[in-house]
């Protein structure tokens, strides 16, 4: 290519350096795009591999006769006992399901009102100086590792709650639920606060101009306008609570029993996996069952997250149309 260029006039001689590297450059650019594209696709591949391999290890429950004799889908719900290491292992998921539900409910009862009210306060009422304290504090709380929250619930919170209520066992659903609320609050707060702040000021001004008070504006105008975002926050907080492991593992007492009381010990799905996977024989029915529980947990939380995503999308559309 360069030989053609140098046979021409003087001013063309300036060009060769570019044309000479031209072919290689295009090829290199293409290769780089391919490499970068691969990096992006990797996130997708990762998610697919998670789905594939969690369900692959759970597969014997669906197809292997020997495993099914011990642990089957029907068996999961026909026995009320979770006793995987007894002489005749029983894999009843009911107590685990109930445990997960109880702990999550306790967490949500505490977390949702506190987080949403605090978000309203921060975005609507708080002076700038106080807002600048609250937001970093919530970010710090979000940064506390869950094992530290679990430790705090196990050593300190459990004693406080037990001294206060004198009910049930020391480690129970209430204790784990309150600690779990601490993990969910930053998620619900941050997403809700973002949504409230995204409501255009013209909404507030119109409401105030019509004579509504500040709290009426917040409650009847701003909050409904941000409802989709707040709902997304609550769902993401719920997903966090359902999937959280270390807190419930350390603070809930881990007894798999069926009881309606919040002050009895509970065992959740996530804690069961964490507590038993270390000692299990690879490939056994118990091993497959734990992966099955993992798949269940994954599916449940995936659905919650997809719903949250739909709410976020709705909020974005609504704000754009205004």
């Amino acid at each position: 290519m360069s030989s053609v260029a140098t046979t021409g006039e003087d001013r063309i001689r300036v060009l060769p350096p570019i044309t000479k590297t031209g072919g290689g450059r295009v090829g290199r650019e293409r290769a780089i795009v391919a490499v970068l594209g691969f990096c992006a696709v990797l996130a997708m591949v990762g998610l697919l591999l998670i789905i594939l391999f969690v369900f692959r290890e759970a597969l014997p429950i669906f197809i292997d006769r020997a495993t099914q004799a011990e642990a089957s889908i029907r068996g999961f719900f026909s026995t009320p006992f979770w006793q995987p290491v007894s002489d005749t292992p029983k894999y009843g998921l009911t107590p685990l399901l109930l445990g997960t539900f109880k702990v999550t409910m306790v967490a949500m009862i505490f977390a949702v009102p506190i987080a949403i009210l605090a978000a309203i306060f921060t975005s609507e009422f708080a002076p700038v100086r106080i807002r600048e304290i609250i937001k970093p504090a919530v970010e710090m709380l979000a940064g506390v590792p869950s094992v530290v929250l679990g430790f705090f619930a196990l050593i300190v919170l459990a004693t406080w709650i037990h001294t206060l209520t004198h009910q049930g066992t020391r480690l129970n659903a209430m204790n784990a639920g309150v600690a779990l609320a601490l993990a969910s609050i930053p998620t619900i707060f941050s997403v809700s606060e973002d949504a409230l702040r995204a409501v255009p000021n013209s909404f507030r001004e119109a409401s105030l101009a019509l004579g509504a008070s500040k709290w009426q504006t917040a409650w009847h105008v701003t909050l409904p306008a941000a409802a989709a975002g707040v709902s997304a926050g609550v769902l993401l907080g719920l997903a966090r609570a359902v999937g959280e492991t270390m807190i419930v593992l350390m603070a809930s007492g881990n007894a798999a029993m069926i009881s309606g009381s919040a002050f009895d010990s509970v065992r959740t799905f996530s804690a069961t996996i964490a507590a038993e996977m270390g000692e299990v024989v690879v490939g056994s029915a118990h091993y497959s069952t734990l992966f099955f529980i993992g798949g269940l947990l994954f599916t449940l939380i995936f659905m919650i997250n997809v719903c949250a995503g739909l709410f976020v999308e709705r909020l974005r559309r609504k704000l754009r149309s205004n």
Partner: protein, 307 residues
């Protein structure tokens, strides 16, 4: 006017009551944080000595220090960052600079990233065990004709599991950083005859560096605190030696807290060491988060300054 007035003073009380209630909720969050941090500081501060930070646990974890756990945590997050940053930043560059925002592939990748961020950490642990150890590791051993070297819990598998867990964090922060680079800088570079990659490498990446660093720091903060994903992929209860190869198991601060808090035969004797370990972990994650927050604030200020 009349609509509000009709409710009279009752509405006024209700109104201030609501504002006060919401203020209490906000105060509660700060108070809970203060109680946790205060409790750990009060009971943990006196444990922190040079000896505690530099020696190994002794006598069933009732004496000695946490050096192996600090070493293991460092090795884990360094290895994680080495795997994580190139891929995370590469993905962000592709999504922000190359991909057309409305193509089906871009939408699928974005959907995957946001849902990957929501996968519970214990499921990452299961994945690490099922994929990295049972599938990749076992097959590596088979192909290389080794006994069990790769097909068991190890530092490298835990680091890879954590890298996947933190991939969304890095992609999102790196993209945010790329968004702060003004459009005219790209155009100027391209107009001067630079290719897209040259533009990315010599104009965008230097500009986006604080954001990339933020992502790296956030991922390290999170990686250092996560226990569930490493429980069955590499963390060990107790090791008499430090890990010296990626196929070794390791001790880790968060896991050490869990072990001491729940498995100790003598909880009273362990308690001071337990509080000390929690304090070290808390200080470590707070400092990392603080650094990330400061870096991000600087980045946002630049974005705002651009108008």
């Amino acid at each position: 006017m009349s609509v509000v007035d009709r409710r009279g003073p009752a509405s006024l009380y209700l109104g201030s009551g609501f504002i006060i209630l919401s203020g209490i909720a906000a105060f509660l969050i700060i108070a809970m944080l203060a109680v946790i941090v205060g409790n750990v500081l009060i009971f943990g501060a006196h444990t922190i000595t040079w000896d505690f930070l530099s020696s190994a646990p002794r006598e069933g974890m009732t004496k000695g220090g946490i050096f192996p756990a600090i070493f293991g945590t460092s090795a884990l997050v360094i290895l994680m960052v080495i795997f994580l940053i190139p891929f995370g930043v590469g993905a962000a560059i592709y999504l922000h600079e190359y991909a057309s925002p409305n193509s089906r592939l871009t939408k699928m990748v974005r959907f995957a990233i946001s849902n990957l961020a929501g996968v519970p950490s214990i499921v990452f642990g299961l994945f690490g065990l099922g994929f990295f150890i049972q599938f990749v590791g076992r097959n590596m051993d088979r192909v290389m004709g080794l006994d069990v070297v790769w097909g068991r819990p190890a530092l490298i598998w835990a680091a890879l599991t954590l890298a996947l867990l933190n991939l969304p964090v890095v992609i999102v922060t790196a993209e945010e950083a790329l968004r702060t680079v003004p459009r005219h800088m790209r155009e100027a570079s391209l107009a001067l005859g630079a290719t897209r990659w040259q533009t990315v490498r010599s104009v965008l990446l230097p500009q986006a560096m604080p954001g990339i660093l933020t992502g790296a720091i956030l991922s390290v903060a999170r990686g250092a605190g996560e226990v569930a994903p490493i429980m069955f992929t590499g963390a060990a209860y107790f090791l008499p030696y430090l890990p010296h190869s990626p196929t070794d198991q390791f001790m880790e601060l968060g896991y050490h807290v869990y072990v001491m808090a729940t498995q100790s035969p003598n909880i009273e004797a362990t308690r001071p060491l337990l509080y000390g370990t929690v304090l070290v972990l808390l200080i470590l994650t707070f400092l990392l988060n603080l650094a990330a927050v400061l870096l991000r604030a600087r980045l946002r200020a630049r974005l705002a300054g651009r108008g």
